[in-house]
């Protein structure tokens, strides 16, 4: 029997960087391309040091041409490369939305399976750094609307380290959303940690009384809320979706059928959101198992504001999650 690998303390950023480094080492067709990924080291310092190790062909700085270089990633993928495109933030990704939706997501179906797009697109998402209304939104739910692509939201250092290689190997486009508040987060990671599956949600805390369903940066708020609820003898189960498209219905329904109550926590806006989709799926698949209306904690329906107190008020926070859980439990 081999001894379990030593656990090391790493940041989410380091885990993501190691994942990129690993992919570059394992497959010569992999390359990273995006604004400031090379000499600058990445807007969020994820790719720092990779230029020196892999050179400017494979750590490719691009002009500010989101549509151009995202489309270039699509074309390179269609020609057999395995590009990783970094789009800095989700707000900037809108400049590449034409290529993502009209080309990457459509080509396999529209060409009758002659061409596929094995492309990974990474980008930062979420609020919390006082970056105001053009750098702070959570639009991953929009992308989860699109058939033909997969959408991932790694929330743990293990997923930051492990999802990328699985995504790189996927024959279809995979979008990875990295919440900006997670980059500095540290966690324990096995020294030999590697690829992880991307098709299942994870139960991050087990509980009998209510299911808190969330993903990305909100996972840690949900876990904190669960700890607060435990002090009041409420045992919350916390589900980390991990994949926003496809959604792992089975894990959600198994949990909800056990707890009979659910609150969805989503940093996207409420109207027409991913939280609305999850809510609907629960109603479609587990309506008769429910003991209370489903609750939602989402971002307020405003552009994310700059001042700290307003930004905090605009996005899901622990007290709101606790309050929503108590309402669902009739203990408000």
């Amino acid at each position: 029997m081999t001894a379990p690998a030593a656990m090391i303390e790493v940041t989410y950023r380091d885990a993501m960087r190691e994942a990129i480094r690993d992919a570059l080492r394992r497959d010569k067709n992999v390359f990273l391309m995006g604004e400031d990924v090379g000499r600058y080291g990445g807007c969020y310092a994820v790719s720092k040091g990779l230029l020196a190790e892999f050179g400017p062909e494979r750590i490719r700085d691009t002009p500010l041409s989101e549509s151009g270089f995202t489309g270039a990633g699509i074309g390179a993928a269609m020609a057999g490369m395995r590009p990783i495109v970094e789009l800095m933030t989700v707000n900037f990704s809108l400049l590449a939305l034409d290529q993502i939706l009209n080309t990457a997501a459509t080509v396999r179906h529209m060409s009758g399976n002659q061409f596929g797009v094995p492309l990974v697109i990474r980008m930062a998402t979420g609020a919390g750094r006082q970056l105001a209304a053009q750098h702070s939104h959570s639009l991953e739910g929009w992308y989860a609307h699109i058939p033909g692509i997969k959408v991932l939201a790694p929330a743990t250092v293990e997923d930051a380290r492990g999802m990328l290689w699985t995504a790189v190997q996927d024959p279809d486009p995979v979008l990875i959303f990295e919440n900006v508040m997670l980059y500095n987060m540290t966690g324990k990671l096995a020294a030999d940690a590697g690829a992880v599956g991307i098709d299942k949600a994870a139960v991050r805390r087990t509980g009998r009384d209510i299911s808190l369903i969330t993903y990305g940066g909100s996972l840690w708020k949900a876990l904190e809320a669960a700890a607060a609820l435990a002090a009041e003898d409420i045992e919350a189960e916390v589900i980390d979706l991990r994949s926003l498209r496809p959604i792992d219905d089975a894990t959600i329904m198994t949990s909800v059928k056990k707890t009979r109550r659910a609150v969805i926590v989503d940093e996207g806006w409420r109207s027409g959101s991913l939280s609305a989709e999850i809510c609907t799926r629960i109603i479609e698949q587990a309506f008769w198992e429910l003991d209370a209306p489903i609750g939602r904690v989402c971002s307020e329906e405003v552009p994310i504001p700059y001042p700290r107190h307003l930004e905090i008020a605009a996005i899901p926070q622990v007290p709101k999650i606790v309050a929503a859980a108590k309402i669902a439990l009739g203990r408000a």
Binding site: T62, S65, G75, M81, M110, S111, G112, G148, K150, P171
Partner: protein, 330 residues
């Protein structure tokens, strides 16, 4: 015809082949228009009438290993590239024997066997794709040219400028072929561009360029030979503007309110098939028998394509979601 430095070998056989390819596209599309009125073909149908010399002049100059990215007006490009007429027409019928299994229709002809990357119905959307194809070849050191066709309407798109910049900045083997037919749907070039000399835009990105009479198949072929050789030898992009004209409506829904009939008539006298045929006759390179034989061969091919498309089958509805992802194969 134009005096050329990169003179193609205009043997009689080659000349007749150029003529045949142009007539083949024209007659095929005449049949498509007829089938459209019979509602055999639906959706949008954009005809290449008047512009045939561009595809016929450029595409045969490419090697089999090279890549082609086209627009939604791509029937001609697909045929010249070698997509079988049967599969192209079946695609327009929406039959699963079509070159894209019927999923794409007229605007989305794809063919892996001939490195034909579609049929793109987002104006300008094919340019970044071409950059990526060429980037892959550049990174692997493969001797492959990507030919990217687009209309002058695409020049107003940001993706055009982003793509030219990337191609020049990174030194990518892309042949940009602008099919300037003077109208972006119904908007005249003078109403959409401050600089209407399109090829000059390439100079801003330090890309070598040339404008050529897009109604002169021999001139286009000569320019394409020079351009493709330049791209292959340098690994760098080249920009070819073909000045042409669309003789028919933009699509089958277009009443053509935006241009005078007299203007269309004037261009009709310059159209590439009549012009090249006239030149071949004057040069005694073609006999009346040749034309009759060419037309008979083409008509037989079209008849076969119609039979093929008619007898094609509909994809079972149960397979609707198939190939949304690689693993969603039914």
């Amino acid at each position: 015809m134009t005096a050329v430095t990169d003179k193609p070998r205009l043997s009689r056989a080659h000349a007749l082949d150029l003529l045949k390819q142009m007539i083949r596209i024209r007659r095929f599309e005449d049949k498509c228009a007829e089938l459209y009125t019979q509602e055999k073909i639906r959706g949008f149908l954009h005809l290449y009438d008047g512009e045939e010399a561009v595809a016929v002049g450029v595409i045969p100059v490419l090697e089999q290993r090279d890549r082609v990215v086209a627009t939604y007006r791509e029937h001609g490009h697909a045929l010249v590239r070698g997509v079988p007429m049967t599969a192209a027409l079946a695609e327009m019928y929406g039959k699963q024997e079509g070159c894209s299994r019927g999923r794409g229709g007229s605007m989305h002809l794809f063919d892996r066997a001939t490195n034909f990357y579609g049929g793109n119905a987002i104006v300008g959307g094919g340019l970044p794709l071409a950059i990526g194809l060429a980037l892959a070849d550049h990174m692997r050191g493969d001797d492959i040219v990507t030919a990217c066709f687009f209309g002058e309407g695409a020049v107003a798109e940001g993706e055009f400028h982003e793509s030219l910049n990337l191609a020049a900045l990174w030194g990518l083997p892309v042949l940009f072929v602008c099919e300037n037919n003077l109208y972006a749907m119904g908007t005249a070039l003078v109403l959409s561009e401050s600089e209407t000399d399109i090829q000059r835009k390439a100079a801003c990105y330090r890309i070598a360029s040339e404008a050529v009479d897009g109604m002169d198949v021999v001139a286009i072929e000569a320019a394409a030979r020079h351009a493709v050789r330049a791209v292959r030898e340098s690994g760098k992009p080249y920009f070819l503007e073909c000045r042409t004209y669309r003789l028919r409506a933009h699509s089958m829904f277009d009443a053509q309110l935006y241009r005078d009939k007299a203007e269309v008539e004037a261009w009709r006298h310059k159209e590439p098939i009549v012009r090249f045929k006239g030149w071949l006759e004057a040069s005694h390179m073609i006999h009346p028998d040749d034309l009759a034989r060419i037309e008979a061969e083409i008509d037989a091919e079209i008849a076969e394509a119609v039979t093929f498309a008619e007898s094609g089958t509909w994809e079972p509805v149960e397979q609707l979601a198939r190939f949304t992802y690689a693993d969603s194969a039914a």
